[in-house]
């Protein structure tokens, strides 16, 4: 096919990309250099808006919470998903299919809905969790899960893990099934027990999937918004504030478009960096 025709076919997609992705991103970067009053653009302020980042304790807290979210996501749903997928892989086709579907189900629930459901579960007045704890004689453990700064972020991360765990199981399961069975058979003949086979065959051969899921989880963790907004709006205080909620408040509630643009640029840089690392690592494998 002549090169010119190929470009013509690419043109519609390119135009859409420029209109809805590239130009808005450039616009946000442009906005960050101006002063704004109630959404009306004022004068050029150079790097003044960027200089505010260092003194913004909410930004620093939000960045820290995003980092904690990434670490917790990598620590629990990813690792547990890998382990469960390895166990499931040795079960019958039907068991795999059914359990895989059940584990994946929370992934299909919109985060807003998940937030509402778990908001009820955690509710200090009528929450199911406290009710169950009371019922099994663990009433002393009942708490105001989303109302205490010490437990709010962790409690929300459990919801995040609940929605992400099944996705990890399904991806790992598919990857495990693509491993040559003769490797496991040979290991078994050599007397390797399950844990040894998991550690020395499954884990190394799933490196690409783990890498993909890990970085995907990290990117998702940076972009998290709906679950937190529906449940705590970043509170109590700033204990569940993340970059996206800080951006939302600065833009929509305060109307400080310039600083909201700066925060968006920071988020964009972080997400683009993580994406670049993902592509680079996957390409180098």
């Amino acid at each position: 096919m002549p090169t010119r025709s190929a470009y013509l076919f690419l043109l519609p997609a390119l135009l859409l990309y420029l209109t809805f992705v590239a130009i808005p991103i450039l616009q946000i970067v442009y906005f960050s250099f101006f002063d704004w009053d109630n959404g009306i653009r004022g004068g050029f302020v150079g790097m003044d808006n960027f200089a505010r980042l260092g003194g913004d304790r909410v930004f620093l807290a939000a960045l820290g919470h995003n980092a904690i979210w990434v670490i917790l996501t990598l620590a629990f749903p990813l690792m547990a998903g890998l382990l469960l997928a390895a166990i499931l892989a040795e079960r019958s086709n039907n068991t795999r299919r059914w359990l895989g579907a059940i584990y994946f189900m929370p992934r299909t629930i919109p985060l807003v809905v998940a937030g509402i459901i778990w908001g009820w579960i955690y509710n200090p007045l009528f929450g199911l969790l406290n009710y169950i704890l009371d019922g099994v004689g663990l009433g002393f453990m009942a708490g105001a899960w989303l109302a205490e700064p010490s437990s709010a972020l962790l409690s929300l991360n459990v919801v995040g893990a609940w929605t992400f765990f099944g996705f990890c199981v399904v991806i790992f399961l598919a990857a495990i099934q693509s491993i040559d069975p003769s490797l496991y058979e040979a290991a078994e003949i050599d007397g390797a027990r399950w844990w040894r086979r998991f550690r020395d065959i499954t884990v190394p051969l799933l490196k690409n999937s783990t890498l993909f899921l890990g970085l995907y989880a990290a990117i998702e963790a940076m972009r998290f918004f709906d679950l937190i907004w529906v449940t705590t709006q970043g509170g109590p205080g700033y204990s569940t504030e993340v970059l996206t909620t800080h951006i939302y408040k600065t833009f929509f509630l305060v109307g400080d478009f310039g600083y909201a643009a700066v925060l968006s640029v920071v988020l964009l840089i972080i997400v683009l960096s993580l994406s670049s690392i993902t592509f680079w690592l996957l390409k180098s494998k």
């Binding site: 009053d37 509710n123 200090p124 007045l125 709006q233 109590p236 205080g237 504030e241």
Partner: protein
Amino acid sequence: MQRLISISVGAILAAGSAAAETAITQWDQFSQSGITAAGPAMDELIATCKPALDGVSVLRTVAPSIGIRDSYRLAVSAGKTPDLAYTWPAASVLAGYARVGALAKLDKYYDQYGWPQVNEFYKGRNSYDGHIYAVPMEQDLMGVYFNRDLFAEKGISVPTTYAEFQAAAEAFKADGIVPVSFGNRDRWPATNTFSLILGLTVGLQAEQDVFFGDTAWTNAGFKQAAENFQAWASDGYFPRGFNGIGYDEANALFLSGRAAMTITGTWVLQDMIRGADKFDMGVFMMPPMADGVAAGTMWGEGSQWQLSSTTSAEGQDAAAAYLNCLLSDESRKVWVQKGHTVTIGTTPEELAEWGADPVVQEFFEGGLATTETNFYDLHTTLPESVTQVLYPELQRLVGGEASADEFLETMQAAWEVAIANGERWIP
């Protein structure tokens, strides 16, 4: 939505039938149910006020009361404000819109129509730089809803002093009843409660010294108010986990009969009256919380009508005439009877004459008895940048995460930045 579409389509068709007819776009919060369930009254008044519109039709869009605040700000930034909007808040936020030239000055319409019910307090809250930019309509007051049956059962009288209020709260707590139902997951309810405590601890003048003068937030009176609020939480007046309980859930807790009182405003009067079917509900005004402070309550306009500066002169004239009709004595009666909305200027006697619920009468009788000393609502008075600091800081204060001093120092810092940025509103 269907209703909205039908109203809009109806209006469009009507507009089409008269080629030269002008249309006014209107955004309001009057839905068919919930907090602002005055939709039927609005529909009726549009029809009633048609003659005042002089051939101009109204294209109406209903937005939720919380969302309209954000939608309007975006409309200002896009230069697409509706001709007429019934939105909130006034004071700093309204002043911000006026500052960037988004609103029309209404001085000549005030001269033309008078609108005497809008007193100096409300005029101030709707003014910027010597001009008035909005017509406040809804009368908001803050008070204490209480369960008369529980009070009678425990032999507790309606508190007339702060000490009596504290004694009542302690008595309910001792009996395992939540003294004050309170939920602050939505962040703004604490602002109302603190506004009330602040006004009753320091009084109107001390508030004005800070909001419009040079006194810092870190003064002794404000500190006492912050400590009072914090003490309510630490003394167990609120339900456990209040920072994780929603505003509606807190109201439901009170309506279930498991809490003796809840402190909120007239904006949920109808919901409360409808919901209190298990007990006899009453309302009282919170007594002053410090010696020498006059009785009063937090009051505000709820929302206000404002006109876009981009609307044609003809459209502005028609909209002002229409507003004059919406605020007439006949219309005020419709607002009360069909919209469950008490407009500014409505007296307790009129409420009785128009058959308003006794709780409504009780509330307004109490709140309007202290018009000279009623005080400000923080989150409709402070600039948005300060309000967005106030919300989380109050969660920290009442949750015991920050001391009164830390809270006030943070507020003072945000206040200074807002003043430096020219965001402070002074009536």
